[in-house]
Amino acid sequence: MTDKSANYDSENWDIRIAAHRSVVDFNFKELWRYRDLLMMFVKKDIITVYKQTILGPIWFIIQPVLTSFMFFFIFNSIAKISTGTVPSVLFYLIGTTLWSYFSDTLNITSKTFTDNASVFGKVYFPRLILPFSKVVSGLVKFLIQFSLFLAVWLYYVFIEHAVTPNWYILLTPLWLFIIVLLSLAFGIIITSLTTKYRDLIFLIGFGVQLAMYLTPVIIPLDQVSGSKKIFFQINPLTSLFEAFKYGFFGQGSFEPFWLMYSAGFTLVLLIFGIIIFNKVEKRFIDTV
């Protein structure tokens, strides 16, 4: 008994607060225990966006409509960039909907530390809960915009017969899931770096804007000529966007190799992101 209790005394600590933890010391159990907090954050985001704004959801609809119209006007009518046989409105609509989810999530999660410094300075909870909650609350806006797309899409499928979906449409939740993880991974890496080196944030804002032009939001991948295609393909979003459209429109490209590449890229980036985020979260309050 004495041996046992001595052992208990020296080993059985629930929490160790120290300067260095190993990089793999990541407490999933704790994260799970705080799942209610995640739901509270999501609820808060939704309530604060919709309370006192009757037009709240309407703005979400107007945004992709106007953007699609702008794209149509500039890239289709003026620059004459074809969207293949897919009606350009439909093409732009799904492009902007997916892209705005990706960039919104990236933008909001990349400010996790700076935006929440006051809360983080006062109370402990697994910091990853916050970017996770932003990913989930962002999905609400995405679903509203996606419903708009679906309505237009149904019109083109059943009335105009302009596009024919195929069975790959069933895989779209998977592509969406990878896009979600990718934006989260980028976001938490950026927020980890920018707590200390603030000027990076300008670079990032600029970078995200440019990245849109290397993603098939406006130009379908098969419209890009040979040697330049690789610049699109190394962008992990490209194959995901293409596969998304492939299911809905029955055209575009579906390339297992590049999809595997995107999934692998996302996984590696996410693990790296969680490690660096975990490292920064312990100290950032001293540097912010």
């Binding site: 005394d9 600590w13 929490i15 209610d36 300075g121 200390k196 312990k282 309050i285």
Partner: protein, 422 residues
């Protein structure tokens, strides 16, 4: 089980970077990385100086905490005391896992909840009910735990009527009561409380202290940080006294408090800077001297409750043709403001020396240790300079007639016409 150690701090140290954090950190990081890559010690860990705010240092780094060791047993209530800047808040932050120590380790058994602020995560647009859930979740409660306590929380806060109203419409008192109510109903094994009790009205403070006492008697462990010696005395069995980032004393509360009082409270009745660069001041004002002169027969006599005191302040103005006012606040040791007096306005001219004088009559102050804060106010509203703890002096009891020698109660001790007749 009663002697089980639930918190064990071993050689906890914390280094802070002084000055403008955020400039040149990339180069520091690279140097640090280069040193550790070659297997050498972090070069910045050596240069730290002891945490003493009154001295200027050439180092960019300072130790906020150094080699802190202590144990807390289950069911214990530990009070952490110390002057401003002694490292209390840093220790709390480490215990609350808001930041990590630079060296050393704290090991904890059980769930910790910390209250460094009331109402963390409160959102003005959310209703009282939503905020209870939000705040509870942030403090580590699950939805189910909060639901089971919900009625008790609402009742404790006394906000039943407004529970579905957004908290932005609450009065500040209601807001604080609701926030504290959530915190008070946490049931962690270890509760860490900063001076959140400094909020709310006296009645509510009493209620909070009572609630915390209840928590402690149920075998949970409390760590409590406060300037309020009375609160520490009544709530805590043991106390930890921090001085300049080190543990100066730890043990039974009354003994630690006595030690603290005798070591920290030095009478500081005369300060003369004489144009020294170190003199308190800024681009508007620079202090020259501050004095508290007791009217005593012999310079070594103590100040008693009957001693009149003259206060003098001298300063140089760098402002030109600007009207300023002086504000003097007198605090008891426990931090209670006894009075706030104003002088002026007076229009200052650049480069001239000004004097201010205050007479405190005898038979006004009770026996206590008093400190003085001086505020310079421009245009009767803008604070331009504040000096805290400018002077400190102790007023002692005088030989009393009659047979009762206990501590004389009261914040002040005036002699007023008060008669008893038939």
């Amino acid at each position: 089980m009663s002697n089980e150690v639930v918190i064990k701090a071993e050689n906890v140290s914390k280094l802070y970077r002084l000055g403008q954090v955020g400039t040149g950190t990339l180069s520091h990081d690279l140097k640090r990385w280069w040193a550790t890559a070659r297997g050498k010690e972090d070069p910045y860990l050596k240069v730290g100086v002891e945490n003493d705010r009154t001295k200027k240092s050439n180092s960019d780094y300072a130790w906020a905490l150094q080699d802190i060791n202590f144990n807390v047993e289950r069911g214990d209530t530990l009070g952490i005391i110390g002057k401003n800047g002694a490292g209390k808040s840093t220790l709390l932050k480490i215990l609350s896992r808001v930041t990590t120590p630079t060296k050393g380790e704290i090991k904890v058994r059980g769930r910790i909840a910390s209250l460094l602020e009331v109402g963390t995560g409160f959102h003005p647009e959310l209703t009282g009910k939503e905020n209870i859930y939000m705040n509870g979740a942030i403090l580590g409660m699950t939805k189910r735990e909060i639901s089971s306590k919900f009625d008790e929380i609402v009742d404790f806060a006394g906000v039943e009527l407004y529970i579905n109203t957004p908290v932005k419409r609450y009065s500040s008192g209601m807001y604080v009561r609701l926030a504290f109510a959530v915190a008070a109903h946490l049931e962690p094994e270890i509760l860490i409380v900063d001076e959140v009790l400094a909020v709310g009205d006296a009645e509510f403070q009493k209620k909070c202290l009572g609630k915390m006492g209840d928590v402690a008697s149920h075998g949970r462990t409390i760590i409590f940080v406060s300037h309020n010696m009375q609160a520490v005395q009544s709530l805590c069995k043991t106390a930890l006294y921090l001085k300049a980032g080190r543990v100066a004393d730890v043990g039974r509360t009354d003994m630690v408090i006595n030690n603290y009082l005798s070591r920290e409270i030095k009478n500081c009745m005369e300060r003369d800077w004489n144009g020294d660069n170190e003199a308190p001041g800024n681009e508007y004002i620079k202090m020259v001297a501050a004095r508290a002169i007791p009217h005593v027969a012999n310079p070594n006599d103590p100040i008693t409750v009957g001693t009149p005191i003259t206060m003098q302040f001298e300063f140089i103005s760098y402002l030109d043709k600007v009207p300023i006012e002086l504000s003097l606040l007198l605090f008891t040791f426990a931090g209670v403001c006894i009075f706030n007096l104003g002088a002026g306005p007076l229009t200052l001219e650049k480069g001239k020396k000004y004097k201010s004088e205050l007479q405190i009559p005898g038979n006004l102050l009770n026996d206590d240790i008093y400190t003085i804060n001086l505020l310079f106010v421009k245009d009767s509203s803008t604070k331009i300079f504040t000096i805290e703890d400018l002077l400190t002096f102790e007023v002692v009891d005088e030989a009393r007639e009659g047979s009762w020698f206990g501590k004389w109660p009261g914040a002040i001790r005036p002699i007023l016409p008060f008669t008893l007749t038939q």
